[in-house]
Symmetry: C2
Subunit: 240 residues, 2 copies
DNA sequence: CGCTGTGTTGACAGGTCTCAATATAAGTGG
DNA sequence: CCACTTATATTGAGACCTGTCAACACAGCG
C-alpha cells in the first residue's frame, strides 16, 4: 500500500473494516486451494506463499507475499480458491470479508485504487517470473529471484539490504523456480563457488549486486513506478 | 466484461469515456515496451498479444487478449510500459486515458469492480500459465494452452467450439510456451499423429477434448466463477 | 520471379531430471 | 540431556527432454 500515500483517515477506515488480527503459526495454511472464497487477507507481518498443487501432486509456488501485501486477491473472481496460502513464518494478518472488500469500491474509491495498483504490482512480478521461468537457465532464474526479493525488501525497509533471511527451504525455492531441489542445490553451490552469493541456514548474502544484475538479464531492475495521479487521488481532502 | 452483466447505462457511460475507436493493422504495435503509459485499451475485435523482450533479444509472450479484454493494465503502475502490445490480427480498440480510467473508480464503482474482476481473471490465466511452463512438458504445455484458448473462445461465442482460428505463427506459439519453435513443431507433429488435434494453416481442431483435458493435468478446466455479489453490484438502479 | 517469413526435418550437444545414497540439521519424547 | 525420528541438504551416475545448428521445403507477396 505504499503507492498512494494514504493518509490517517484512510488508514483508520481500512483498519476498522479489517477487524481483528489473526495469528498463524509457521507452516499453517491460511486458505487452502479449493476452499470457498469468503475473504481476502492483509498481511501485517511474516512471509506467506501462494501455491498451486497439480493433480500429480507437484507444487508450484506462484507468489510470495511480504508485509503490506494483500493475500488471495486473484481468487476473488472464483467460487473456490485457486491457490493455497501458506505461512512461511509466524504470520499476522487481517481478514477482509468479500463484502467489505467490494464496499471499498463504492465508499472509498481512493482505497480501491490503492488496492488496484498494488494488485498490478503483483501482476508485474508474476509476468517477470513467467518470463524468467520460460526463458532463463536455472542459474539465472535463481539470480533473478534473489534480486527480486532483495528489491522488495529494500523498498519495505530503509537503507540498503545486502543480507537477508529467506524463510524458504531449498524444496520451496525449487518449487518457486520450476526446477528440482536437487538441481537447485547444485546451482547454489556454483553461485557460492563463483563468489556471487553466500547462502547458509536460510540467510542469503548478495556479494556482488552489480554483477548479479548483469546476469539476471531480466528486462529491468525494479520497475520505476508511475508518479502520475489525478488530483483527487493525491489527498483525501480534495473531494472534487 | 462478462462478469457483472453491466446494463445499458453502464455501457453508455463506458463508451462515452472510451472515445472513438482506433484501428490497427495486423502486426502493428499498439504500445511498445518502454513507451510512456498514457492510456489503456479496450479490445473491440481481433487478437492482441502482450510480450516482453529480454536484453538478449528473446521474446516472451506473457498474455493473449480476445475481444472484451482490457489491454496494458499491468503497466498502469509504471512510468513506462513493461510489455509490448501487438496486433495479431486486424484490431479495433478503444483508448481509455489514465485519467478517465481512474475516474471510473470515483464515479462508476460498478465499472471499477468489473474492471477489477476482469483483471483478476487475467491474473489467474497468468498463474495457470506460469504453473504450466514451470511444471509441464512441452507437449502438455501445448495442450494446456490450446484448452485455455478453447475455453475462452467458448465463453465468448455461443455453443461448442471444436475448431478455431489461431492467429499465431509457430514462432509466436513457442514464444508463449517457453520452448523453441523447432521443438514445438515436433510436438505438433506428435499430437497430430496421436489423433488428438488437427493443425493446419492456423486452424486448430481439438479432436478429443476429453482426452486432452486428461493430459493437460492443470489444476482444473476453466475456473468456475463466483456468483456472489453484493446487492449494489448486481444492478445499477439499486443505489443502496 | 526472386525474396522473405514460415514450416519441417535431421544430427548432435547440453542442461536438467530421475533415482539413489549419504550427510547434516532440526525437532521430539523419554 | 540423550536417543530417536524426521526434515533438509548434498553428491553421484545415467537417462531424457529440449536446445542448437543447419539445411531445405513451402507459401505469400511485391
Amino acid at each position: 500500500m505504499q503507492i498512494l500515500d494514504l493518509d490517517a483517515a484512510d488508514h483508520a477506515w481500512f483498519e476498522e473494516a479489517c477487524g481483528f488480527r489473526l495469528q498463524f503459526d509457521k507452516q499453517m495454511v491460511i486458505r487452502e486451494q479449493g476452499e470457498e472464497v469468503k475473504s481476502i487477507y492483509l498481511l501485517a507481518s511474516g512471509w506467506v506463499s501462494s501455491s498451486i498443487i497439480l493433480p500429480d501432486g507437484e507444487r508450484q509456488i506462484v507468489g510470495l507475499h511480504l508485509p503490506g501485501d494483500l493475500l488471495g486477491v486473484p481468487s476473488t473472481v472464483l467460487a473456490s480458491s485457486a491457490e493455497s496460502l501458506t505461512a512461511l513464518t509466524a504470520v499476522e494478518a487481517y481478514r477482509i470479508s468479500m463484502a467489505d472488500f467490494f464496499s471499498f469500491f463504492k465508499r472509498q474509491p481512493r482505497l480501491a485504487v490503492a488496492v488496484f495498483l498494488q494488485d498490478q504490482q503483483d501482476d508485474l512480478a508474476l509476468i517477470d517470473r513467467l518470463t524468467a521461468v520460460a526463458r532463463l537457465s536455472a542459474t539465472h532464474r535463481m539470480i533473478a529471484f534473489l534480486l527480486h526479493i532483495h528489491d522488495r525488501l529494500a523498498r519495505i525497509r530503509s537503507g540498503p539490504v545486502v543480507s537477508f533471511e529467506l524463510p524458504l527451504t531449498q524444496v520451496d525455492l525449487a518449487d518457486a523456480l520450476g526446477i528440482t531441489h536437487v538441481h537447485l542445490n547444485r546451482v547454489i553451490k556454483d553461485l557460492k563457488a563463483a563468489g556471487l552469493i553466500d547462502y547458509a541456514r536460510n540467510r542469503v548474502t548478495l556479494k556482488d549486486l552489480a554483477r548479479l544484475r548483469t546476469f539476471s538479464s531480466l528486462p529491468s531492475g525494479p520497475h520505476p513506478l508511475n508518479v502520475f495521479k489525478p488530483r483527487w487521488l493525491r489527498s483525501a481532502d480534495n473531494h472534487d
